[in-house]
């Protein structure tokens, strides 16, 4: 009986290791293909296709990017600016809202909560929103339009509210009030400090959304020097695709002079690099905050 069990356990655990390893490899595989592609000569990609190990090693993709780095650097700085300003402002507003909405002595908290939550149930849709911003607010080609729409989502506010509720007992608010602290002071010097894991999680959500956003650029930005990084990548890829299609369609060997494929891969890597680099540090907080906030919420 006991032997039978441990035999089964062993079999199960071995297959668990095997399956998890395979799935991890599948998750990693597309990245490896891209990294390898960025170090392969363009001709080799066109002739031999993408391989896990570069068939003909070359740095021409990177050379191409760093010969004309102006636009890339510009896009980088736009994205960094938008991400930093948006995340800090958004965090400030979200934590403040979450704090007020979970205060039991704030009479209208449920009404205001519903005012915010309702926007996830029903909305005017993309088009009226688009026309409002472009036609009535005249916000095309501004940094504000890249920052403002992403400041808050009902989901993040609810996450934050639940987090504060579970992290800070009501007695703390009461005793702080007795000590004469006003509500903003309580928020600023108590709530923020005690809900750091939640702040980190929500901040990461915000930063990730800003960093990965291409949609707002595609809708509202015509000035190429104001493209966000991801939209710049998107645009470059499509231009490269156009160049190589022109080459095959017309017989003009433009594609040989511009290493379209390797440049695309190198560009994708340069754009994604910071996230991969920060990922190991950031991931821990993300997991921690999610497991506290989301499950209880």
């Amino acid at each position: 009986m006991k032997d039978n069990n441990s035999g089964m356990s062993l079999l199960f655990k071995t297959s668990a290791y095997l399956i998890i390893t395979l799935i991890s490899l599948a998750c990693l595989f597309p990245f490896l293909l891209m990294i390898s592609g960025s170090f392969t000569s363009n001709e080799s990609i066109i002739r031999d296709g993408f391989h896990l190990i570069p068939q003909v090693f070359s740095l021409e993709g990177y050379k191409m990017i760093f010969t004309f780095p102006d636009q890339l650097l510009k896009a980088y700085s736009v994205t960094i600016l938008v991400t930093v300003v948006g995340t800090v402002t958004g965090l400030f507003l979200i934590t403040m809202t979450g704090y007020v909405l979970q205060r039991k002595d704030f009479k209208y908290r449920n009404k205001f909560s519903f005012f915010i939550y309702f926007t996830t149930l029903f909305g005017g849709g993309l088009v009226p929103w688009y026309i409002m911003i472009t036609k009535y607010f005249n916000m095309s080609d501004t940094y504000a339009v890249l920052i403002l729409p992403g400041l808050m989502t009902p989901f993040l506010i609810i996450l934050m509210k639940n987090f504060i509720k579970s992290a800070i007992p009501d007695e703390i608010f009461e005793s702080a009030k007795i000590d004469g602290a006003n509500d903003f002071r309580i928020y600023y010097s108590i709530v923020l400090k005690l809900s750091m894991p939640g702040v980190a999680t929500v901040g990461l959500f915000l930063a990730l959304t800003y960093w990965n956003d291409w949609f707002l650029s595609s809708l509202f930005i015509n000035d190429t020097s104001m493209y966000q990084l991801q939209y710049y990548l998107y645009n470059t890829i499509n231009t490269m695709l156009f160049v190589s299609q022109m080459a095959t369609g017309t017989g003009v060997t433009l594609a040989k002079e511009i290493p379209t494929e390797s440049t695309k891969m190198a560009m994708a890597l340069v754009v994604t690099g910071p996230i991969v680099f920060l990922y190991p540090f950031v991931q821990r907080y993300f997991v921690k905050g999610l497991t506290i906030g989301a499950v209880k919420g």
Binding site: D48, T97, V100, V127, Y187, I275
Partner: protein, 307 residues
């Protein structure tokens, strides 16, 4: 005297909180409630000069066109169909993998594989389109290289509609698996060891322990995630579909969802009235669905109600 002071104190306190809430309320008022006025566009043939109230009123013509052209039916089926597949497959796989990981003892292996599986969640959808292209484009894609080396004729995947529902699902899973897996893993970690010890003493094997302890204990998490997903079943994964398919008209029949249709009507065809009508249909249909779901849940189990 004391009462009055208490009242003033109360009022003063709420004033600060109200001020703190103000920016958020204004944000949602402008960003989410103002555009609701623009629902009116759905009943007009919009022209830019006329704007909100100057464009000619056409009644339900936009909706009629959407219905008669067959677009409405196709978009609804695609949007809901994909979401159902995403919800079912996404959750089942996430649960299975969370269980497997929880049974593994090697700490370093656990941490490492978890990190790798979570990585795709952090990538932008633009990058996703690059990765998909590397795998599946006709000339240099990895998939065709494999076919060639096996002596099979390469396939032009970007011109083969029937594979796209599979590919889109695979990429959806690829991107989101790590995220939902971590939520389930956290619930598993919260299960008390005592249950497992007791089951062991009773002679339950590992499969029985999982089936009779772990799986039932995951039910609340599953139900919460399921209900949230059901609530937004009319909202498509716009980024995923648009970045993978783009403006490749050949694939629209099997990949067009309401969100991509609306975006295209706005950015490519400039058909404001039609795009608003499709968006309004999505919003209203979604609203009715969520209200129904919530009503039924409340009847069954109040604790799980969305609001």
């Amino acid at each position: 005297m004391l009462k009055k002071r208490g009242f003033l104190y109360e009022l003063n306190k709420n004033k600060v909180m109200f001020l703190m809430l103000m920016p958020t309320l204004i944000f949602f008022l402008i960003n989410s409630y103002f555009p609701m006025v623009g629902i009116y566009y759905a009943f007009t043939s919009y022209d830019f000069a006329g704007g909100l109230f100057g464009s000619p009123f056409v009644g339900l013509d936009n909706f009629k066109f959407l219905y008669q052209s067959g677009a409405l039916w196709k978009l609804t089926i695609n949007t809901i169909g994909y979401n159902i597949v995403f919800i079912v497959l996404g959750n089942v796989l996430a649960i299975a993998i969370a269980i497997l990981i929880s049974e593994i003892r090697g700490k370093l292996f656990k941490k490492f594989t978890q990190s790798i599986m979570f990585l795709p969640y952090f990538m932008s959808f633009v990058l996703l389109s690059v990765l998909a292209y590397n795998m599946f484009n006709f000339e240099s894609g990895f998939f065709n290289q494999v076919l060639k080396s096996l002596g099979i004729a390469p396939v032009d995947i970007y011109n083969t509609p029937w594979v796209w529902p599979i590919l889109i699902t695979v990429f959806y899973i690829w991107k989101n698996l790590g995220y939902s897996m971590i939520i389930y893993l956290a619930s598993i970690m919260g299960i008390s060891d005592e249950y497992y010890e007791a089951a062991k003493i009773d002679g339950a094997n590992i499969i029985q322990r999982i089936w009779h302890i772990t799986v039932p204990m995951l039910k609340p998490t599953f139900v919460i995630l399921l209900l949230f997903a059901l609530g937004s079943i009319m909202k498509g994964q716009f980024d995923l579909f648009y970045q993978l398919v783009g403006n490749n008209g050949l694939l629209y029949d099997v990949t067009d969802i309401i969100d991509t249709y609306v975006y295209r009507s706005l950015k490519v065809n400039f058909d404001i009235g039609m795009a608003t009508a499709a968006g309004l249909y999505q919003s209203l249909f979604g609203f009715v669905l969520i209200m129904t779901v919530n009503y039924i849940i409340k009847k069954i189990n109040e604790d799980y109600a969305l609001f």
